[in-house]
Symmetry: C2
Subunit: 270 residues, 2 copies
Amino acid sequence: MVERGLPTSVGETTENSESGGSLARMLQILELFTDAGPVWSTADLIEALQTSRSTGYRYIKTLHDAGLLTAVRNGYYTLGPRIIEMDLQIRQTDPMLMASHGVLEDLVEKIGHSALLLTAFRDSVLCIGESRAPRSPENRFSRGQRRPMFQGAGSKVILAHLPHHRLKALYPRHRVEIESAQLGSTWSEFRKKLGDIKKDGHLLTLGEFNPGVYGVAAPILTDQKTAVGSVGVAWDENERRDLDVKQAVGAVKYAATTISERLQDMQRQS
Amino acid sequence: MVERGLPTSVGETTENSESGGSLARMLQILELFTDAGPVWSTADLIEALQTSRSTGYRYIKTLHDAGLLTAVRNGYYTLGPRIIEMDLQIRQTDPMLMASHGVLEDLVEKIGHSALLLTAFRDSVLCIGESRAPRSPENRFSRGQRRPMFQGAGSKVILAHLPHHRLKALYPRHRVEIESAQLGSTWSEFRKKLGDIKKDGHLLTLGEFNPGVYGVAAPILTDQKTAVGSVGVAWDENERRDLDVKQAVGAVKYAATTISERLQDMQRQS
DNA sequence: ATTGACAATCTCATAATATCGGATTTTCTT
DNA sequence: AAGAAAATCCGATATTATGAGATTGTCAAT
C-alpha cells in the first residue's frame, strides 16, 4: 500500500526489484541528497517518502542519531558528520588505498602526469584516490566521483577482468551502452573484446572523455585474477613529453602489479 | 568472542537508551568498523549483532545494496564506496564549507599558520575543513577527526555558544570532564566561565593539546547567536613570527564573522 | 518571562512485516 | 566439472513497525 519510490528514480542494485523493506526504505533517504538538492526540510522528506509523519520523523531521527543526517537549522537536514568521519576511517584503513601508498606517487614521478586509483561500484567506476603531478590542473575526475563502466581506460580494464557471473548479470542491463561504446553488439563479441584487453593486461585509449587526451590503465587483481580496481593515468596529446607511450604503459602496469601483490600479501596475514 | 554492545561503548545520543529498533540496530553495524577492526567477516558481524544468521545476512545485504558496505573478498566486508561518494557530496554542498571558501585561505595567508574549520557533533567537535600553510607539518587534527568538547580553543568556543538546552542536557553527562578541564565544578560556575568566553567572542589557549602550542578560535554563529562551528588556528610558541597575538585574534574573529554572515545570507535565499 | 506557533516526540491499538530455522540456490575452490 | 561453503529464499509466527491524534518540546517575538 505504501506506493513509494518511483521506479524511474530508484536505480537500485538489482534491476528494479521492490525495495527490500523498511530498512532499505529508510536508507533511500540518503539518496535524496544530491548536488541539486543538498538540503531538505522534514516536510519535503516525508512527502518524498510517501509515508506518515510519524514514520518519517522516526526515520529521520534514527538517521540523525546515527549521525548520517544533521540539522542545518530548524527542520532542515543535510548529510551528517558521521559520513565525514567514516570517510576518514576508509582513507586510513581501506586495504586497496593502503596498498597503493607510495606506488601512485612513484608512478607520477616517473611519468610526470597525474594518476588515479579506481574501483568498481554498482555497474560504474568510482575514483577512490589520486596523486596529482606538481603543477597539473585540478583533475575533473577525483575521489568520490563516478564514471560509466564502458568509457575510459580505467573503466574498461576493470570491466574486462570482472568475474564471469558479474559480466553475465551486467550485460543485459547495458546492451545499448556496450554497443555504442564499441564493445560489441552480441554477448560473444563482447566477451571476445574483453578477452583481448585481458590478454594485454592493460588498455590504451584516446579521447574517450576529452578529445585528444590519452588514457592508460592496468587492473588491480585478486589471487583469482579478477579485478578489484585499476590504476590509470591521462595526459593531453599536445602536452606530450619525451615520454614514450610504451614507457607509460610499462610504468602503469608495474604500479598495478605492485598494488595487487601488496593486497594479496595483506590478506594472507589476516 | 567479539563482545559487542557493551553499554559503556555505545555512546548514543540519549544517555544509554535501548537502541530504537531494528533500523538503529542495523546502523550499529557501521560503528563496528574501526581503526582496530576495519575488516569484518560475516560470521563475526553476526556474532557481534547477536542475531540469527538470516537476519544478519539481511542487514548486511541491505547495507551492501545501499553501498555502505563493500566486500573486500569472499565474506569479508569494509565500509563501502557510497560513503566516499557522499563525502564528496558534502564537500561540494555543505553550507558551512561553502561559506568558508576563500576565507580560510585568506586567514592562512594573513597569519602564516594553518587554519581549521570545526563543527559540533555528539558532545564532541569534528574537523570538517582545513587550510594548510605552505610548508607546515601535516596537521594531526584534520578533516574527519574528533576531539573532546572541553579541550582546545576551537572546542571551548563552540561550547560557550551552544543553545541553553543543549548545555543543560550535556552538563550532567560530563561533569567530571568539565571539572578537570577547569571549566567549573558546579553548573553556575560552568555557565559563568562560558559566559566570559561568550563575551569576548573568541578564545586563546596555550598547550591544551600539545605543550607550547597556542590556539585561537572564534565561533561561527546563526542568526540567533548560537554556534554551528568555529574557526581556529594554532602555532608553536617558538615558531613565533613577528605576528602579534592580537593580530591573530583579530584575523580569526574576522574570518569567523565573515563565514557567519555568508551562512546567514545563504539561508535567507532558500 | 510569557505567549503563541510550529516542530518533534509520545501513546497505543492494529496488522504489517521482520524474524528465524531449515531448504535451496548461488558462488567459490579443488 | 564437482564438491564445499556461502548467501539467499521460504513460510509460519509473533515481534515490532506503523499511523492518527494528543502531548511535549523548541523557537521567535512581545
